[in-house]
């Protein structure tokens, strides 16, 4: 992508008289420019997406047929564990941070992020974190294999990979917290004159709330894994009953982090979709205030629903009741969002460019994931669903055609602004259709498998599950190959293509400040703050 920025830089000189980026590798190592850092985050997350995806394909290849054909069961567990850690902390989160870095300053009319040096540091910490995590795969005793939730006592059976994985989480957590602080400070202090909080674009709003969630829960997760570390190496017994501890305590702490964490992944996605649907409906977002309040309600509820991940641990009846009811409540603000997106399209004037296609697929498929989520909120029925492929289907529906499709929609929406070129529409459409079809072939049958009784995280299964596993694996390879198209479309667009106007999309100018700056966006934008009426 470096070509992009050299061009962006050249373009910048035509308009401004400021200094451009340094040359060569040093530019990327030491950059404090929000656009450079945003690009690095996005490229990093794409690499991680492909790596995590390759691990998913190892899983699906082993599950293609009953019987063990390819890998040892222990390595299979490592794949499920590291696939999840990479996708959550390496792919989805950095992708949304990358979009935030690029777009928040452009959307609020700020020249850069508020804390540019910390911005650079938070990116390179992430690289260090994932180097450690990937290194852990090659340790004696194998990589982490206790699932991404790292439940003790099982996780304490990990070999030398354990401290590496835990330090990787510490570093990634520190990186996230720095990113979150930066985003909050930027949004609070650097908005253009006239841009009151309730005039901010929805993507900025959802990220502001996400950043608060990050600051609230990342330290909790760091604490939980630190306790694992001391239990393993320093003789404490936080999570061992033999010393007066409790393995379930870990689960409570983990999910107190883990539930807000899933909203950390999905709220920015809500924001992206709330940007795209109005633009391609040529109509203002329906119920802007309701959208903001719904986002805030979801964030609040995320702190009081955590134990629905652990209905089977044997909680008191009152606890099960509370977590069932609070979880069901989430359906209300989430429903408001889906209805508002639909109402935005109502009596609009719709066109179906790739960003809109991905946003629409998000709307349908995320809603399906929402329904299965509501089903699992019902505690008595969750005793059947829990830890089966039904939950695997659920969270992949909200994460892949949910969060990941929204991120892809965002990339297709803003890529022309970043590069100054329109991408290959034909290939982008092909990428959309193959992704949208294969993602359903991949994940829909997993609902059936779970209901029919297949537990999750097993490397082999009884023959009654053979057919749907085969269908799912075919979908997985189709989906995985489709993503190579995505990489090619981006690469091609970075290299060149038809020049786009400043507005890029028909009528986009009224939908955000980013469409008022030149395309490609110059290296420095908004040296003088725009005035928002």
């Amino acid at each position: 992508m470096s070509t992009t920025h050299t061009q962006a830089h050249g373009h910048a000189h035509e308009h401004h008289d400021d200094h451009g980026p340094a040359k060569g590798f040093k530019r990327w190592l030491t950059t404090t420019n929000h656009k450079d850092i945003g690009t690095m985050y996005l490229v990093f997350s794409l690499v991680m997406f492909l790596l995590g995806g390759a691990m998913a394909l190892v899983i699906r290849a082993e599950l293609f047929m009953p019987g063990m054909q390819l890998v040892d069961p222990g390595f299979f567990n490592t794949m499920t564990t590291v696939h999840a850690l990479i996708m959550v902390f390496g792919a989805v989160m950095p992708a949304t941070v990358g979009l935030a870095n690029w777009m928040i300053p452009l959307q609020v009319g700020a020249p850069d992020m508020a804390l540019p040096r910390m911005n650079n540091f938070s990116f390179w910490l992430l690289v260090a974190a994932f180097s450690l995590l990937i290194l852990s795969l090659f340790m004696p005793g194998g990589g982490p294999a206790a699932g991404w939730t790292l439940y003790p006592p099982l996780v304490l059976q990990t070999g030398d990979a354990l401290p590496l994985a835990i330090f990787a989480i510490h570093l990634a957590g520190a990186s996230s917290i720095m990113g979150a602080i930066n985003i909050i400070v930027t949004i609070m202090n650097m908005r253009a004159p006239g841009m009151t909080l309730l005039k901010m674009p929805l993507f900025v709003w959802t990220w502001l709330i996400t950043a608060y969630l990050l600051i609230a829960v990342m330290p909790v997760f760091a604490g939980a894994v630190t306790m694992l570390l001391t239990d393993h190496f320093f003789g404490t017994t936080f999570f061992a009953a033999a010393g007066g501890g409790d393995p379930v305590l870990y689960q409570h702490i983990f999910w107190f982090f883990g539930h807000p964490e899933v909203y950390i992944m999905i709220l920015p996605a809500f924001g992206i979709v709330s940007e795209i649907i109005p633009t391609f409906s040529r109509k203002p977002l329906f119920g802007y205030d309701a959208m903001v309040y719904a986002t805030a309600s979801i964030a609040f509820l995320s702190f009081i629903v955590w134990a629905h991940h652990m209905f089977t641990v044997g909680m008191p009846l009152a606890g099960q009741m509370f977590f069932m009811l609070s979880t069901m409540l989430i359906a209300v603000p989430t429903g408001v969002k889906v209805f508002n997106w639909t109402a935005t399209m109502w009596r609009g004037s719709l066109t179906f460019e790739p960003p809109m296609l991905f946003a629409l697929a998000f709307l349908f498929l995320f809603t399906i994931g929402g329904f299965s989520g509501l089903m699992m909120a019902i505690a008595p029925v969750d005793f059947q669903y829990h830890d089966t492929y039904f939950i695997v289907a659920h969270f992949h529906y909200v994460l892949v055609p949910g969060a990941v499709f929204a991120i892809m929609a965002g990339v297709y929406y803003w890529l022309p602004k970043w590069t100054g070129h329109m991408y290959d529409m034909k290939l982008a459409n092909l990428h959309f259709w193959s992704s949208a079809i294969f993602v359903n072939v991949l994940f829909f049958p997993q609902h059936f498998l779970g209901l029919a009784g297949m537990p999750r995280r097993i490397p082999d299964y009884s023959t009654q599950f053979a057919d749907w596993n085969m269908v799912s694996s075919i979908g997985a390879f189709g989906f995985g190959l489709s993503q190579l198209l995505f990489v090619y479309v981006i690469w091609k667009c970075a290299r060149g293509g038809a020049k786009v106007s400043d507005e890029v999309w028909d009528g986009a100018r009224v939908h955000g400040l980013e469409w008022t700056v030149p395309s490609p966006a110059p290296y420095h934008t908004f040296d003088e703050a725009p005035v928002v009426k």
Partner: protein
């Protein structure tokens, strides 16, 4: 005639296994099961599923209508409204009412699941990496239950054995749990190393087996037969290979089976073994105290 028969057989095989599109209902949905709880849970599942389907049909219909109708290519001119308080109140309140409608039967079932009173038999289940131990705490019978040898041989990497040629592949054990039909069985669940989960789908329930703590659940099987399940909490390398098999027998057959087990135990018991068994029973009594204290 022969050809018709053969075609029919091929058709059945196609419907039964070869084609996912024509798979049986039990391959794609929850089981009704054989206990009062499993039937109630199935009923709740179907209720909520159909509510979700109804909402999905309504919402997706509006989305599809919008996508089909309000197209720029059809000359649609955008309106400029950005809110409608009446609509927003309606689509906030109606979901709340639907949720209340779901919560009431769900809460009722939850209370029933939690009611351990009046059990007629107590069995302690202990999870190990990677097998189960069953103890009939009032009858001095205890044994381990591990994956059947035929499955174990077939599941090795590149074993060369076709899993389809193994009966009940990965769902067969050497010593199944045996319980009487129509009796309320209280199951005490714990583990000795890492967390496992004991799950038989036909009984409607699963509970985590947590080292150092004892969980409870109950079931009353209305039908005799063999019911199969699996460990449902990741417990290490062979998590996928510690199935659960429960045989439900009529009371008299169960009694006979229990006597046989007790007799076999006594015959096998040397003095040393008896001491071991006695100390194990003391463990069980202590564990029960913990359970009751909770």
């Amino acid at each position: 005639m022969n050809m018709v028969k053969r075609a029919f057989a091929a058709g059945v095989a196609f419907a039964g296994g070869a084609s996912p599109a024509m798979a049986a209902w039990s391959d794609v949905n929850l089981r009704v099961g054989v206990t009062e709880l499993s039937r109630e849970i199935y009923g709740l599942h179907m209720l909520i599923l159909w509510i979700c389907v109804a909402i999905a049909v309504a919402v997706f219909a509006v989305m599809i209508y919008s996508i089909a109708t309000f197209r720029k290519s059809k000359g649609a001119v955008p309106a400029n409204f950005d809110h409608n308080t009446k609509a927003e109140v309606i689509w906030t309140v109606i979901p709340v009412l639907i949720l209340v409608g779901m919560a009431i039967p769900a809460a009722r079932t939850l209370v029933k699941i939690d009611d351990m009173r009046g059990s007629e038999l107590t069995i302690k289940v202990t999870g190990y990496q990677w097998k189960w131990q069953y103890e009939y705490v009032d009858h001095g019978v205890s044994f381990y239950s591990t994956l059947a040898r035929t499955s174990d041989e077939a599941r090795q990497v590149d074993s060369g054995v076709d899993p389809r040629s193994v009966e009940n592949y990965l769902l067969e054990v050497d010593n199944p749990l045996v319980v009487p039909q129509g009796r309320k069985v209280r199951v005490l669940i714990t583990a000795n190393d890492v967390i496992h989960a004991w799950w038989v789908p036909d009984f409607g329930m699963k509970r985590d087996a947590i080292p150092g703590f004892i969980n409870e659940m109950w079931f009353r099987a209305d039908e005799t037969g063999v019911f199969r399940g699996q460990c449902a909490e990741l417990c290490g390398r062979d998590h996928g290979f510690m199935p659960i098999v429960v045989v439900v027998k009529p009371q008299d057959e169960y009694d006979a089976w229990l006597k046989e087990q007790q007799a076999a135990r006594q015959a096998a018991a040397t003095p040393a073994a008896q001491t071991a068994q006695a100390s194990q029973q003391v463990d069980t009594v202590a564990a029960l105290r913990v359970a009751n204290a909770e």
